[in-house]
């Protein structure tokens, strides 16, 4: 038995000293292999008498277990050390930049158009569109500006040399109002639409571009009046700017296609060099800013669009989209809108995931 104990001690020492899995395997074979000393010791049990065996068997089994456990433990330790060494050798510099994916952006005008659609949809307005190359009937005549009307000359119109089949002069629409006519002709009354889109005036300076964006609003029903117009614009601006302190001022004005005609001003104040919408325009530190034209649709316009003016009446308004985008998001140069400079687009543009929703609010916070 002493011999067995000595062998065990020697083997355990060798296992503890093994630094490689091969050395460890050598010890396993030497002890637990077919011809290993533990295996040989186990074979001796067969030749023993039952009494001898009763004593010897547990002792040999205990040695076997002890050696096997030591082998397992050492194996795990060696493997762990090897893995650690391997991982240590695989260390990389994670301060280096990863491959970059290009980040795209949505143009502020598109974003604001989506915001408009979202707010006005809640008020029951659909979005309508119409051609940008128009004839003068839709752009002027049907809007109560016949050929000799002085207001026509004030529109800085871009003309084409072409004539329509009806002999109409072809031009670039100077406002989104022709969509009123087309929509009423198509759908009749009652109707609630907004019509955002490109419009054109032959005007170019620091604050005017020959192409810009407008949104037209039109509500025609049986008993719509100026009070509804005021509410609609107030409600829109409150939602658009997410401010309850929006104050509108209506001023009498003149547009051939509305009667009465109303200019809409909004109160604002200056914060630094930025105009901030809100507050009463006559209050200390505040002033009024023109937002757009509006009024009750002229009955002649209703007639020309095929709507019975004795049964229906309504209001229309027009707002500059670029302008309200600038007011909301703080751009100060209209010309940059149409320059396609990726630096500007990435700064002022929006993430594609900033889809305006009523629950999330239609504005994108910086």
């Amino acid at each position: 038995m002493t011999e067995l104990t000595d062998q065990k001690q020697t083997t355990l020492a060798a296992i503890a000293a093994a630094t490689t899995l091969d050395a460890l395997e050598e010890q396993r074979v030497g002890a637990l292999g077919k011809k290993g000393w533990v295996s040989l010791a186990l074979k001796t049990l067969g030749q023993m008498s039952p009494d001898e065996r009763k004593d010897a068997a547990p002792a040999i089994q205990a040695v076997r277990a002890e050696v096997a456990d030591a082998l397992d433990a050492r194996k795990t330790a060696l493997e762990t050390a090897a893995l650690e060494a391997q991982l240590a050798s695989e260390t990389i510099d994670l301060t280096l930049p990863p491959p970059a994916a290009a980040k795209g952006s949505i143009h502020p005008v598109s974003q604001v158009m989506d915001e408009l659609a979202e707010i006005f949809a809640d008020l029951g307005f659909a979005v309508a569109t119409g051609p940008e190359i128009e004839d003068d009937w839709h752009n002027f005549t049907a809007l109560n500006m016949d050929e000799s009307h002085p207001a026509r000359a004030m529109h800085d119109t871009f003309y084409f040399p072409d004539k329509s089949a009806d002999g109409g002069e072809m031009l670039l629409r100077t406002h989104t109002s022709p969509v009123q006519i087309r929509s009423m002709k198509d759908q009749g009354a009652p109707i609630r639409i907004i019509a955002p889109g490109r419009v054109y005036r032959s005007d170019s300076d620091a604050t005017h571009t020959p192409m810009f964006h407008q949104v037209e609003g039109l509500v025609v029903d049986r008993d719509i009046h100026l009070g509804h117009l005021k509410w609609t614009l107030e409600t829109f601006f409150k939602a658009f700017f997410e401010r309850e302190d929006i104050v509108l001022r209506l001023r009498p004005s003149y547009f051939p296609f509305t009667e009465p005609s109303v200019e809409v001003d909004v109160g604002y104040s200056n914060e630094g060099d930025r105009r901030v919408v809100g507050g009463h325009g006559d209050a200390e530190g505040h002033d009024w800013m023109e937002l757009g034209g509006s009024g009750m649709v002229n009955r002649r316009v209703l007639e020309m669009a095929g709507v019975d003016p004795d049964e229906y009446q309504g209001f229309a308004f027009g707002l500059g989209i670029d302008r309200i985008a600038m007011l909301k998001y703080g751009m100060n140069d209209l010309r940059a809108f149409f320059d396609g400079d990726p630096r500007w687009l990435q700064h002022y543009g929006f993430s594609p995931f900033d889809q305006p929703t009523l629950s999330g609010g239609v504005g994108v916070r910086p």
Partner: protein, 803 residues
């Protein structure tokens, strides 16, 4: 239109403050565009007396003055005006004052070594006139030390924008009438100067064009003495921004600016025979007062005598018969012209004038005789002479419009309750007369000057604007019960999704001009049928775009010139074509341009990589899928257009004719035409070509077709084929996929190889085929059978399995 407060008060008795007047003007629709208060601009300028004047020791043309400012010791001032002399009174600008004409702030300074404590001012420096020959000389009784603004009686000047429907307010008197109606005071009656007229008018006056000139009234005044106008007149004209010229000219301008009534004065000595309003002859010419010659045609009305045309009627007088300083006998003309005809003539001639502005909008047909008498009276009073009787040819429109009016309409349309009595008061104070069964069935007779009144809505406007639009309360629009219904059309939904998909794939959305330089547009069209503007703002913005790519290329070039590494732009907009009936055909389109470095040089990726045609293809497919196109059914075909690299571009089609998109590398010649360096990839999606999804009938269903992932695992098999070098990989894939549709769920190319081991004229294409077992797992025999079908299918295209 500008006028001074003093002038307004000629016609309006009021105790209202300037601010109240401004607020009211805005409130009633006469928008205040600006106010200049000379008390502000002339602050720091005082009446001063020159005590001594001595030559400057070092400058011949300068004098050194001592000036009494009314307080403290006299100041020393250096002055260059030849009329500066001891004993005179003038206007001194003190240090700190700002010279109105040039915005310069005066300072204590040394002029050629002599101290100067201010500036003696000329008329021009204070913007009171043109004179700059010397400093202002004030009368002896001018109080030294007083503010010059007070002494001068300088009155604030109000600039009001008059909308085109209100020619009746294109005179100060009309503005006063509106203010009086709004409760700001009392309108004063027009003060008609007394004069005696004797003898018939010695000049025959006629209108031979009753439609263009329904009325032509005139009168001769003989023995007048023309000369400078009195101060009151000059001040009023100056406040209106008009330069005083001579008494006779100034008086006609005064009549126009004060009463909105243009008139004309002819030098009688230059006229011969009858003076006639008639149609011009084609090609007839006139030298107008602006010293330009205009060629006329038969549609235009002129005033002519036996010899020549003297006046483009209602627009501008002729140079040859205009009054001169020495003029003594004059013919006065007051006429009524057809507004539409004046507008047409003005536009044809490209000639604008204050008279045209008023005539084409419509002057007061009831103010011919009074206007002529007023002008005559002022001339006789200020220039002397004796007036003949008035002579009249024709007559102006005299039938007043009567509008049936129910006062309830004001609330119905205007959204504000205005008591019937107040409505009546407002209308009457504006010159309307009210009769009939007020308030339900009233008749409102409109003053002839109110050409803008067409019907009851216009009367509502009058009532509401005077009553106050601020009294209109907000009223909520009725809304549907419950949650608002969706309103977007399928097209709108598609564009929204597509736009955000494009941005999500790394592209920046640009908005570029709809118009292009003609050559850029022509480069991108196969037809010569572009929409080209008649009156572009510049040559760079002339032709409506037939493609979205050129505008994006121009933007990408600008970007590259600014040093950008990569430019990835897209735009969602319209292309403009010819449609039926001479109208346009505007097609929704997405364009994208990829320029510069797709990947910059990097520590891991090595050299910078440019965009290639597969980037364009990936963008085209991704975006078409987002737009709802059946991407799996598309065919890759050629003919992307001559703007693209012929070997590295393609179209994506649904069927052989319907082109949904084109993509690829931009042709080097195109890059050269746009002055760009390559390579540049581009994509264009023709959204109008994507078939619309059929809308189902009945209520919307959101349910999708049923699907359970197969329980059995899919297996893959690889095949390498030798194929003719020119065979399109897509064709081989289609053949493979089609060879056993029941089992093959996918097939993709994972290697393309030419070179060693591949015979000349051939290439090797390796395909991974995915097989999906349905009810039971494949056995070897099944797989073998499928493989045989694949090989057989590929063989139809000349592909042989590589050994």
């Amino acid at each position: 239109m500008k006028f001074s407060l003093t002038w307004l008060k000629d016609h309006l008795e009021t105790g209202a403050s300037l601010q109240e007047i401004l607020d009211t003007l805005n409130a009633i629709g006469l928008e205040v565009e600006g106010v200049e208060d000379p008390a502000t601009s002339l602050a720091g300028f005082r009446v001063a007396k020159v005590l001594t004047a001595a030559p400057h020791p070092d400058a011949d043309k300068l004098q050194v003055l001592t000036v009494d400012t009314g307080e403290g010791d006299p100041l020393q001032v250096v002055c260059g005006a030849p009329n500066a002399r001891a004993g005179m009174k003038g206007v001194l600008g003190l240090p700190g004052a700002v010279v109105p004409s040039n915005g310069m702030e005066l300072r204590k300074s040394a002029i050629r070594g002599v101290e100067s404590n201010g500036m003696m001012c000329s008329v021009r420096e204070l913007e009171l006139g043109e004179d700059h020959d010397g400093i202002i000389e004030l009368p002896d009784d001018a109080p030294v030390g007083s503010s010059f603004a007070d002494y001068h009686g300088a009155s604030p000047v109000i600039d009001v924008a008059i909308t085109p429907n209100r020619p009746d307010c294109m005179g100060v008197y009309g503005v006063a009438r509106d203010l009086a109606a709004a409760g700001l005071g009392t309108l004063k009656p027009i003060a008609m100067p007394q004069f005696s007229a004797s003898g018939a008018c010695p000049v025959e006056i006629r209108t031979d064009d009753a439609e263009g000139c329904p009325a032509f009234y005139g009168r001769v005044v003989k023995g007048v003495k023309n000369g400078p106008s009195p101060d009151w007149l000059q001040q009023r004209l100056t406040s209106a921004g008009q330069r005083p010229i001579s008494l006779l000219v100034d008086l006609t301008n005064y009549l126009m600016l004060a009463f909105g009534r243009p008139a004309h004065v002819y030098d009688l000595a230059k006229l011969s025979g009858a003076v006639v309003a008639r149609r011009a002859k084609d090609g007839e010419q006139v030298l107008a007062l602006n010293e330009k010659t205009y060629t006329l045609d038969e549609s235009m009305v002129v005033i002519a005598d036996d010899n020549e045309v003297h006046d483009v009627a209602g627009i501008m007088g002729g140079e040859n018969s205009g009054v001169q300083p020495e003029t003594t006998d004059v013919l006065l003309e007051i006429a009524y012209f057809n507004p539409a005809r004046i507008g047409v003539t003005g536009r044809k001639l490209g000639l604008a004038s204050d008279a045209r502005t008023r005539f084409e909008r419509g002057v007061d047909p009831a103010f011919l005789e009074d206007g002529l008498d007023l002008l005559t009276g002022l001339i006789v009073e200020l220039a002397g002479g004796s007036a003949s009787e008035m002579t009249r040819a024709g007559s102006p429109p005299s039938e007043a419009k009567i509008v049936a009016f129910d006062t309830a309409l004001t609330a119905r349309l205007g959204g504000v309750e205005v008591p019937a009595d107040e409505q009546k008061r407002i209308l009457e104070s504006l010159g309307f007369t009210v009769s009939g069964d007020w308030p339900k069935n009233g008749n409102v007779t409109c003053p002839l000057r109110r050409h803008d009144i067409e019907g009851p809505a216009d009367l509502v406007e009058e009532v509401v604007r005077i009553h106050g639009l601020d009294k209109v309360e907000s009223v909520a629009l009725p809304r549907v019960e419950g949650v608002a219904r969706p309103t977007a059309t399928p097209q709108q939904l598609m564009e929204r999704k597509l736009r955000r998909a494009a941005a999500g794939s790394g592209l920046d959305e640009a908005i570029t001009w709809s118009f292009l330089p003609v050559d850029a547009a022509e480069h991108f069209t196969a037809t010569d049928d572009l929409w080209v503007l008649d009156n572009p703002i510049s040559e760079d913005m002339k032709a409506m775009r037939p493609s979205l790519i050129p505008g994006l290329l121009i933007a990408a070039k600008r970007s590259a010139d600014r040093g950008a590494g990569a430019t990835r732009l897209f735009e969602l907009g319209r292309r403009y074509f010819r449609g039926p009936g001479g109208m346009s055909d505007e097609r929704p389109t997405l364009g994208a341009v990829l320029a510069g470095e797709k990947t910059p040089r990097g520590w891991a990726s090595g050299k910078a990589q440019a965009f290639d045609a597969y980037d364009a293809k990936a963008a085209a497919l991704t975006l078409l899928e987002a737009a709802g196109a059946p991407v799996a059914n598309l065919m890759v075909m050629g003919e992307a257009g001559p703007q693209f690299h012929p070997g590295q571009s393609a179209t994506l089609r649904l069927g052989p004719k319907n082109v949904l998109a084109r993509f690829g590398m931009v042709h080097p010649a195109t890059l050269k035409a746009f002055d760009m360096d390559g390579p540049v990839a581009a994509v264009e999606l023709f959204l109008d070509a994507i078939p619309a999804k059929k809308a189902g009938k009945g209520p919307v269903s959101f349910a999708r077709p049923g699907f359970t992932p197969p329980a059995l695992q899919a297996v893959t098999r690889d095949f390498a084929f030798l194929v003719p070098a020119e065979l399109a990989a897509e064709d081989l894939l289609k053949a493979v996929r089609g060879s056993d549709k029941a089992n093959i769920t996918a097939a993709r190319v994972f290697d393309v190889f030419t070179g060693q081991g591949v015979p000349e004229g051939k290439k090797s294409i390796a395909i991974e085929v995915t097989l999906q077992p349905q009810d039971k797992s494949y056995k070897d025999a099944d797989l073998k059978a499928i493989a045989e079908k694949v090989v057989a299918g590929a063989a139809k295209l000349g592909a042989e399995l590589r050994g």
